[in-house]
Amino acid sequence: MRPPIFAAFALLALLAVSVPVSAHHAPSAIFDMDHAFTMTGQCTSVDWVNPHIILHMDGKDAAGNVAKWTFESNPPAWFKKAGVSRQDVIKAVGQTVTVEGLRAKDGSSYGYFLKLTFADGSSVEWNSLLDQALGKKSE
C-alpha cells in the first residue's frame, strides 16, 4: 500500500495553479453573477494585460445613445492555457462585436465578458460559465 504522502501529494498537485492568481478576487465580488446581458458595438481596443484582459467598446447606454463600455475577462495566461491566443481575441479591434457578460454591481459601464462574437459570426466563449449565467438572463 502506498504511503499517505503519495495521496496527499497527488491531491495538492490538482490544486496547484501555475497562473499568477495570488491576491486575486472572485468575480462575484464585483459582478452580478445572476444576470447576463448583451451589448453590441464597435470594439475600439483590446488590452492584453494582467490581471485581466480588457476590451473597450462603443456600446449603448440605457437611452440608446453611444456610450463607452469596458469589459474584462481572465488573465492572458489563462486564455493561453485554455487554447485562446492573443490573436484570437485582438482581431475584434475595429469590428462590430457582440458581448454577452455580467454587469458590474456598482452600476458603471463595466462588465465581465463570457462570450465575444465577431463580425463574421465566430466567437470565443467560456461555455461552462456562460451556460450558468444565461440560465438567469435578465434581458
Binding site: I5, V17, H25, A26, V49, P51, H52, I54, P75, K81
Partner: protein, 286 residues
C-alpha cells in the same frame, strides 16, 4: 493552433480527505521515494556529481490540466473547464471546497491574530500584490527556469508584477553584509544529499508570505528545498519568523515537471476593477 479538443486529464474535484500536515513531516527521505515511484527516469547529474536542476519547469497539475476547449470549423473557440480557478458563484464554498480554499494557517502569536484578520478582510486595500506589486519570496512560487553553475544557481520567474530573478551563491559564500532589505531577500544555497537547500533572509516588510494576510517581520527566513528525481523536482518551503510566528510554517509542497515551454515575458500588469469592489476583501460577496 488547431486542435479538436484538449483532454482534461485530471478531474478537478476538490477532495481534501488527507490532512495537510502529514506529508509536511515526511520531507527528506520520503520525498525521494515519493518522486521515484512516480518518475523512474534517472536523475541527471552535473560534472561535479550534483543533481542537475537546469531546465524549464512547470508546476504539476496547473490549470491546463482542467480545460476541455474545442475549436470549431468556423474558428469559434468554446472553452470548457477552468472553473476551479475562480469561485464563480454568489455563495461561499462550504465543506471540502472551503477547506481547500483555506488550507492550514501559519501559527501567529496571539497578539497578531487581529492584524492578520484585518489584512485579509481588507485585502484589496492592504495587499500590494492586488495592485500589481511584487509578491516576493516565497509568494512568487517556484522558478520557471533554473540555471545551475558551480558557483551559483540562478532562478528565473514569470510573474505579472514583472518577471524577476534570483542569484543564489552555492560555493559557500555567506549572506551579504550591508545589503538593503528587498522583496526577494538575500539567498545562499548548499547541498544536502540530493537536495539543494536555499536560505533567504533580509526581506523588506512590504510582502506577505501567503495570500490571507500572512504578513511577516524583517526577521523572516525562508528555506526552500529542491529535490530532483528523474524529470521532476519536489519543491518544499518553510517560513520562519520568530517575531510573529510561534512555530515554523511548512507550506504545501509542489511538484515541478520538466517542460519544453520556454519563458515568456509576462504581459504588463494594470489593475482595472479594484475600485469597483463593493467590499474590501476579495472573496465572494457576503
Amino acid at each position: 493552433m488547431k486542435f479538436s479538443s484538449l483532454s482534461a486529464g485530471i478531474a478537478a474535484a476538490v477532495l481534501f480527505s488527507a490532512p495537510l500536515t502529514t506529508f509536511a513531516q515526511q520531507a527528506g527521505s520520503a520525498a525521494n521515494s515519493a518522486l521515484a515511484a512516480q518518475s523512474p527516469k534517472p536523475t541527471p547529474k552535473t560534472a561535479d556529481g550534483r543533481p542537475d536542476l537546469n531546465g524549464t519547469w512547470a508546476t504539476a497539475g496547473g490549470i491546463s490540466a482542467v480545460f476541455q476547449s474545442q475549436k470549431k470549423e468556423d474558428g469559434s473557440i468554446s472553452i470548457k473547464g477552468g472553473d476551479q480557478y475562480y469561485i464563480f458563484t454568489s455563495k461561499r464554498p462550504t465543506g471540502a471546497g472551503a477547506r481547500a480554499y483555506q488550507p492550514a494557517a501559519p501559527s501567529y502569536k496571539p497578539e497578531f491574530l487581529d492584524k492578520v484578520k484585518y489584512l485579509s478582510d481588507n485585502e484589496s486595500k492592504t495587499d500590494l500584490v492586488f495592485n500589481c506589486g511584487k509578491p516576493g519570496v516565497p509568494r512568487i512560487g517556484p522558478p520557471r527556469q533554473i540555471v545551475q553553475t558551480k558557483r551559483d544557481v540562478i532562478f528565473l520567474y514569470e510573474d505579472m508584477s514583472g518577471d524577476g530573478y534570483r542569484v543564489i551563491p552555492i560555493d559557500g559564500r555567506p549572506h551579504r553584509a550591508g545589503l538593503d532589505p528587498s522583496y526577494n531577500g538575500d539567498s545562499i544555497g548548499h547541498w544536502e544529499g540530493n537536495a539543494l537547500v536555499v536560505e533567504a533572509v533580509n526581506f523588506n516588510e512590504d510582502t506577505w508570505f501567503g495570500e490571507n494576510g500572512y504578513f511577516h517581520s524583517d526577521q523572516m527566513k525562508v528555506t526552500e528545498r529542491f529535490t530532483r528525481d528523474g524529470d521532476a523536482i519536489l519543491y518544499q518551503v518553510t517560513v520562519e519568523d520568530p517575531k510573529v510566528l510561534t512555530a515554523p510554517f511548512v507550506m504545501a509542497p509542489k511538484k515541478l515537471d520538466a517542460t519544453n515551454e520556454q519563458l515568456e515575458e509576462s504581459p504588463r500588469c494594470s489593475d482595472q476593477d479594484g475600485g469597483r469592489l463593493l467590499n474590501n476583501d476579495h472573496h465572494v460577496q457576503r
